[in-house]
């Protein structure tokens, strides 16, 4: 079993996706159970992978026994183990908590949601362990195509949002593929390790610059890096609540991982100014996303723009590419996944009997202190109030920006925090202090147990990751970050 750890989480998610339709024959409940178990098992397998490589080990896995560079190679190192564990665990909790919302949104068709959600998870987990660039493309599209379908499964406005997501997402994937093609034409290999060895010899070629450019732009579209974020606000606003609990938390994280992986392990950023450009683009996203979020009146759209801002932090850290900044960026992948899942789950629970998604219509937390409390914890993490986890990723990013001697980026990180404080305050205030309304007063006192349990797990995780971040950093992130950090 241990030898198969690199592929196990992906396989478990895929097996779940295939089993769900079969289980659906036995009823909706069975399908739901299979999905949650499969996602949970994938999470546990990913955690086992973390235990396997903690401290800096690497496990290589040749699919079907074909050795690299001819066969498909999967690589489990601290970075990929951490990312896949973060994605799988958060997705499992989100799926477990999405049950009531899925029943409300899809009724008898809920098994389709679970099957597609597991396909998304399969793709995302596949990205994290892929050892070659083409495989990343395939898994990226597996997750994306299922994601388009999930977004479009909502009411009529979701169809338009889903189509827009599909067009932009496919353009992004094609850009990425084109870039991979250019690098392949230059070197004749797609294996990451092989490419890393051969690229320095051809780095003067304009094809190299073109390839890197297309790859970065393509992934930036998938990450929704401002100003290439056009698909995200509509998609996350109109996606049905159970989908919104899952996709915003994890969907952009795997492409962000792919960006870090290609940039730091394959292309090596010191050869091109692309890393610096990314750091500045990330800073721009942090500020612009925050400013957009500030102006929203729809709670879902506010959270969507906050994703644009928070993804900016990750890209900023990857672009800075020094030890502290990378640590912060990697940690923020986990932190943002946890807080976004928590916020969208809580929002979904509140929307079940709110008048609508606008901030002025949310006014239920005084009757639901647990949901409201979990939202506050997530909000504090977003703002970066210690000991919530979000503080620590920002702390490392700050250290990285200071180390790099970039006062403007330091200011952007701090400003993003401040903007988050304002927009999260607007949401929290609406939820806690909005006027009571008649329909809400008749509603349930708290959410369904599954939602509450998921929210509590995420809230505890927020504080736990915060207080225990030194362990994660020491065992996983610092080895990963220092292995690739550029000495500048």
């Amino acid at each position: 079993m241990g030898a198969h750890l690199p592929i196990l989480p992906t396989l478990l998610a895929l097996a779940g996706a295939l089993l769900v339709p079969i289980a659906a024959l036995a009823g909706r409940r069975a399908a739901e159970g299979v999905a949650v178990v499969a996602a949970g098992a994938a999470g546990l397998a990913a955690l086992a992978g973390v235990a396997e490589v903690a401290g800096g080990g690497v496990r290589r896995y040749a699919v079907a026994g074909w050795p690299a560079p001819w066969g498909i190679e999967l690589v489990l190192d601290p970075l990929s183990a951490f990312t896949s564990a973060a994605i799988a665990c958060v997705a499992a909790v989100a799926l477990a908590g999405a049950g009531p919302a899925a029943r409300a949104a899809f009724g008898g068709a809920a098994p389709r949601f679970y099957a597609l959600a597991l396909v998304v998870l399969t793709g995302l987990l596949g990205i994290t362990v892929s050892g070659d660039l083409f495989n990343v493309f395939v898994f990226l599209e597996i997750s994306s195509i299922a994601g388009y379908a999930l977004v479009a499964s909502g009411a009529a406005p979701a169809l338009a949002a889903g189509f827009r997501y599909l067009v932009l997402g496919t353009v992004g994937a094609s850009f990425y593929l084109l870039g991979v093609g250019l690098l392949y034409a230059l070197t004749g290999t797609l294996n990451m390790g092989d490419l890393a060895a051969r690229l320095p010899a051809v780095s003067a070629s304009p094809l190299f610059a073109g390839g890197v450019g297309f790859i970065v732009v393509g992934l930036a579209i998938k990450i929704a890096l401002f100003p290439l974020h056009g698909w995200l606000p509509d998609a996350y606003t109109h996606a049905p609540p159970p989908v919104a609990a899952l996709l915003p938390a994890v969907a952009t994280k795997a492409p962000a991982y792919a960006l870090a992986r290609t940039l730091l392990y394959v292309i090596r950023p010191d050869e091109l100014p692309v890393a610096t450009a990314l750091a500045w683009a990330g800073a721009g996203a942090v500020v612009a996303g925050g400013l957009f979020a500030l102006r929203q009146t729809d709670a879902r759209r506010l959270l969507a723009y906050s994703s644009v801002s928070q993804m900016g932090y990750i890209v900023l850290g990857v672009g800075l590419a020094n030890g502290a900044a990378l640590t912060g960026a990697y940690l923020h992948v986990l932190n943002h996944a946890v807080m976004k899942a928590s916020l969208f789950l809580a929002l979904g629970a509140l929307l079940l009997d709110a008048r609508g998604p606008s901030l002025s219509a949310l006014s239920l937390a005084s009757r639901r202190p647990l949901i409201g409390g979990c939202m506050v914890v997530a909000a504090l993490s977003m703002v970066g109030v210690p000991p919530a986890a979000g503080f620590f990723s920002k702390w490392y990013l700050l250290q990285g920006a200071i180390e790099a001697g970039q006062p403007v980026l330091v200011a952007a990180i701090l400003l993003g925090s401040l903007l988050a404080a304002v927009y999260m305050y607007r949401l929290t205030e609406a939820v806690w202090f909005g006027p009571e309304d008649a329909r809400a007063a008749g509603g349930r006192a708290e959410a369904a147990p599954a939602v509450l349990a998921a929210l509590l797990v995420l809230a505890v995780a927020t504080l736990g990751v915060g207080l225990g971040n030194a362990v994660i950093v020491d065992r996983l992130l610092a080895p990963a970050a220092t292995a690739t950090a550029t000495a500048r």
């Binding site: 109030v385 702390w395 200071i402 207080l467 225990g468 030194a470 610092a478």
Partner: protein, 490 residues
């Protein structure tokens, strides 16, 4: 010397446990109140248990798990920390008794949230008092910011919500500046440990030091309500009176000032601050705040707003003291933390007692109130004059040392402003007292309930005791002098 000890961590446990217990016993008010009192008493006892050791020169230290690699949760009871922690926990005990009387008399809604947040504030306050490094300090500082918010908006009115918004906007902005400062300090000094005399290298680029200094001043200054960062404080007076009392005396506002003292004494060091010329700027800011806030206080009709501006002015004495650069001045500034805590809490308790008994908040409506409530107003008058600096009282003890320190340092402008401010203090308090005692006679005596009256008499007596025997119950003077000696270096 440092001694490993679980006591600093143990001192945080009662308040943290109280938060959980209060929430759990939300349906049984008497139990809920009992938890508050018990926690406050336990916290006071635990802090008091450390005082003898600290007085003898030891520093009980507890090192927790790493916050980030290389920087642990560090709690260290040094003289400054223990002084502040002792004030906070002792006054929390008194305030809890007062609070129970206050919220019962007014039948306040949302009492569970109120007591739970109160306990959380005290957890954070004692935590930041004992914090041994900047990151631990920052953590508790931010928890305090957030925990005080529900108390500010307690009334639930639109006005309270607006005050809460402004409070958070100001304090979180300050927090962000402080975060920048902490991160920069880590890069510049290579450590975040508080060390007497400072950690920043004297050889660092002046521009970096100045940038850091400005970030720190903004970061702590917002909470300390240094002009022009003070606007949130008068608005926050919408909070229930016990909240204002504790916020001014030891928690939020005082935490800001405490932060300034920590930064001046233990991050920059008075020497470095003087060398780079920043001490002069800080002193100038403090002097301007003292004068402006006193002048604005003259024009206030709402008693709590008057007290708010008085706080703004008084806290800058502390900042002035540490900025003077003399050992006596530093000691005076630190001692003024204690004086102001005891006296200002008395004044707020009196304002609350008047509000509960007579339902008036405006000074113009307080004619004759002193004859109806002679004990309350007597305590008010005594505390007001002691705060102004008239002997014998706590205010005199600290202000005298400030004057001495200013004179030693040759800061004659500071001497002048200090003297002028005594006059201004008397000028803005006198009309209140005169009106209360000389106004048209009101029918009969009607003191506040004992649970309100006893705490305010106690704190007033404490203020007097601190003036007469500065090393009585709490060895405030010797602790303050020990701090001043340690940061001034050999």
């Amino acid at each position: 010397m440092e001694v490993a000890s679980p006591l600093p961590a143990a001192a945080l446990v009662p308040a943290a446990a109280a938060v959980a217990l209060i929430v759990l016993s939300r349906r049984r008010p008497p139990l809920r109140e009992a938890w508050s009192v018990l926690a406050a008493a336990a916290q006071t006892a635990l802090v008091a248990a450390m005082i003898p050791a600290v007085s003898a020169g030891a520093r009980p230290t507890w090192e927790g798990p790493a916050l980030v690699p290389g920087v642990p949760v560090l709690l260290r009871a040094d003289a400054l920390g223990i002084l502040f922690a002792a004030l906070a926990s002792g006054l929390w005990l008194v305030t809890t008794v007062y609070s129970i009387g206050y919220v019962r008399a007014l039948a306040e809604p949302r009492q569970t949230r109120y007591f739970a947040c109160f306990a959380l504030c005290l957890f954070a306050t004692v935590g930041l008092a004992l914090a041994g490094n900047l990151l631990t300090f920052f953590g508790f500082f931010e928890i305090l910011t957030v925990a005080a918010y529900p108390l500010v908006v307690h009334k639930g009115t639109e006005e309270a919500a607006r005050a809460g918004r402004i409070y958070l906007l100001y304090t979180l902005t300050g927090g962000t500046a402080l975060l920048g400062a902490v991160a920069w300090t880590a890069a510049l000094a290579g450590t975040l440990d508080f060390r007497p005399g400072g950690i920043l290298p004297a050889g660092a680029a002046p521009a970096a030091l100045w940038g850091l200094f400005i970030l720190f001043v903004v970061g702590c200054g917002v909470k300390a309500a240094v002009v022009p960062l003070h606007t949130w404080l008068p608005l926050a007076m919408i909070a229930p009176t016990p909240v204002s009392a504790l916020l001014h005396a030891v928690a939020v506002v005082k935490a800001g000032v405490f932060g300034v003292v920590r930064v001046v004494g233990f991050v920059f060091g008075p020497g470095l601050l003087g060398d780079m010329g920043a001490a002069g700027l800080l002193a100038g800011l403090a002097l301007a705040t003292i004068l402006l806030a006193s002048l604005v206080a003259l024009a206030q009709d709402n008693l709590k707003r008057l007290l708010a501006f008085s706080t703004i002015s008084q806290l800058s004495y502390v900042i002035l003291g540490v900025a003077l650069g003399t050992e006596t001045g530093f000691a005076g500034g630190v001692l003024h933390i204690a004086s102001h805590a005891l006296l200002k809490i008395t004044l707020f308790f009196c304002a609350g007692a008047i509000y509960v008994t007579a339902h008036v908040e405006r000074i113009s409506d307080m004619g004759g109130i002193g004859r109806r409530m002679p004990l309350t107003m007597g305590a008010f008058a005594a505390a007001a004059f002691m705060l102004a600096g008239l002997p014998p009282g706590a205010g005199f003890t600290s202000k005298w040392r400030l004057l001495e320190g200013a004179a030693q340092g040759g800061a004659w402008l500071a001497v002048l402003v200090l003297l002028a401010s005594v006059v201004l203090n008397v000028a803005y308090f006198t009309p209140v007292i005169v009106r209360a005692f000389a106004g048209p006679a009101a029918p009969g005596r009607a003191e506040a309930p004992a649970s309100l009256l006893v705490p305010l008499l106690l704190t007033a007596a404490g203020g007097l005791a601190l003036g007469l025997v500065p090393d009585g119950v709490l060895p405030a003077l010797s602790l303050a002098q020990a701090i001043a000696r340690s940061v001034s270096g050999p």
